[in-house]
Amino acid sequence: MKFPGTILTTCCIIIIGTGWITIDNRYFRPTPVKFTVPKGWPKPVYDFSKNSLTAEGIALGRKLFYDGRLSRDGNFSCGSCHQQFGAFNTYDHNLSHGFNNSLTNRNAPGLFNLAWQREFMWDGGINHLDLQPMAPITAENEMAETIDNVISKLRTDAVYSKMFKAAFGDETINYMRMGKAMSQFLLQLVSSNSKYDKVMRGEATFILPEQLGYEIFQKKCAACHAEPFFTDFSYRNTGMTADPIGNDIGRMKITGNRNDSLKFRVPSLRNVAITFPYGHDGRFFSLSNVFEHYRKNMVADANTDSLVRKKLVLSNYEIGQLTAFLYALTDSAFLKDARFAAPGYDNKGKPPSDIHQ
């Protein structure tokens, strides 16, 4: 009858031991958030094992994204040039406005499905999502601030101390944590609920012009604008001559390779109806400008992509059908998703209250 006593003692020791080991982590329990890959999509390329998604991290990233203090004069948050109602582009702007009445060099692209993107910027110069915010924050014609200053501003705000602690376990504010938190928020921006997606999932059907447009799209556009992201993330020269003042050489700036002259990333066509103007410098103000470029105006050079070098044959009829299909790529749920709005503007899922009552 000695054995039950031994077992009991051993069990007690193990329980106490386990308690001892876990005591350190007792007060740091962020809420894990699962990243859902839409049905039929490939695995994300972002390494979540190095930056586990948590509700607290996402909330911090969201606050940072909408905080003007990330810029020198406090006027420009990330969200001021990446507006949700424009799928996080700068709505209806060829170029965005920066510090001291400056303009950006390139068109602000929409932000979505970033978990599947390996390189960022039109020239692919940035090789990790966590590093991306540093470029606009420090660019003189964008937010014009130094990371050092941003961090000292955040350190004076008790709310941030609390939020960094909730997300990372202590109150240390550094750039690595900032970058990770912002990535956590940006990774949430998944756009996968357009009519096209519903049709693919069997929840809706295309009307005839959309269906015809889809068939034309698959024949004439999908080689570069590949489904389901509507880009193959490659860099291509599509016969857009360089502006003599800006003289933007595109991908060549990064690789130093002459063959990469005037190559820019193939932009995603998701939400394309609302991300006008188009092109790396926003030179096309409408979809019809783009179609005219491909069938008439483009100026091919030695580096122009073989798929478009001889221009695209597009009839007015085809352009009509294609436009109908491209309109089916608008994800209106994404544009209004309260989780992505500036903090304090989400009304916690309830409709906004009527201020006239």
Binding site: G125, N127, A135, K253
Partner: protein
């Protein structure tokens, strides 16, 4: 009853297993090795802000001089290479302490110590780092992700650009424009050494494997052929003064 005995036995085994983990593996004896860097221009000690003359007789005033060193390894007398745990150091002329690097090496006779002048490609593609590799150190390109491996900045009347400045920000980690250089330093004269005095001669930036005059190329701040040329040049800047 038998089951409980077996259960208790397994618990005992498991518990003793936990107790003994961490005590496995013999620890080899180690010793401290200090590397002390001195920055020179030819025969003169570098002082930031002072005027010197480089190997071409161009006058130069250096304002910034810093470089990354990483991935140390030691070679013993038989040629066996032992890699030290990966560590990254930013040696900066404005920070005297950064010019003294303490390493823990196996306590054996060492014939050669090797390191990378620069930051290996893995750290260039792994997002934001902290410590010596924090992007806030001013050694990181925001527009074309990657580390500046070495930086030399200042002014010279030979420079043809506004302000007579020169600025060499040498970086790039992708083949064929990888500016990381492997440095081997011979310590066979005292292979039980605990201290090495190493000098880095800025003159080598301008003339070693090839010629790079401030009057011809006052600026380099992107990966490419010029950066490769300068990296080849400065890869010869280190020499061992004394070993103790």
């Amino acid at each position: 009853m038998k089951a409980t005995i077996v259960f208790a036995f397994f618990l005992f085994i498991a518990a003793s297993g936990i107790c003994f983990t961490g005590k496995q593996g013999k620890k080899l004896p180690k010793r401290q090795l200090q590397l002390i860097f001195t920055h020179m221009i030819g025969k003169e000690h570098l002082v930031l802000g002072n005027t010197f003359t480089n190997i071409f007789g161009e006058n130069i005033i250096v304002q910034k001089f810093k470089y990354y060193i990483s991935n140390f390894s030691v070679t013993d007398n038989t040629g066996k290479i032992t890699r030290l745990p990966p560590k990254y150091f930013l040696v900066d002329e404005t920070d005297s302490l950064s010019k003294i690097i303490s390493l823990v090496v196996p306590d054996i006779a060492i014939s050669k110590i090797s390191f990378l002048l620069g930051v290996d490609s893995i750290r260039n593609v792994s997002g934001i780092q902290t410590g010596a590799l924090d992007p806030l150190k001013g050694m990181f390109w925001t527009w074309n992700s990657g580390y500046i491996m070495a930086k030399l900045e200042g002014s010279s009347t030979s420079s043809t650009i506004a302000g007579h400045y020169f600025a060499y920000h040498i970086g790039g980690f992708k083949h064929p424009m990888n500016t990381v250089r492997i440095i081997d330093l011979d310590v066979s004269q005292n292979n039980r050494c605990i201290e090495m005095n190493i000098s880095a001669d800025i003159n080598q930036w301008f003339k070693s494997k090839s010629v790079c005059k401030i009057s011809e190329t006052p600026v380099c701040h992107s990966p490419g052929a010029l950066a490769m040329k300068i990296a080849d040049n400065y890869s010869t800047m280190f020499s061992v003064n004394s070993v103790h």
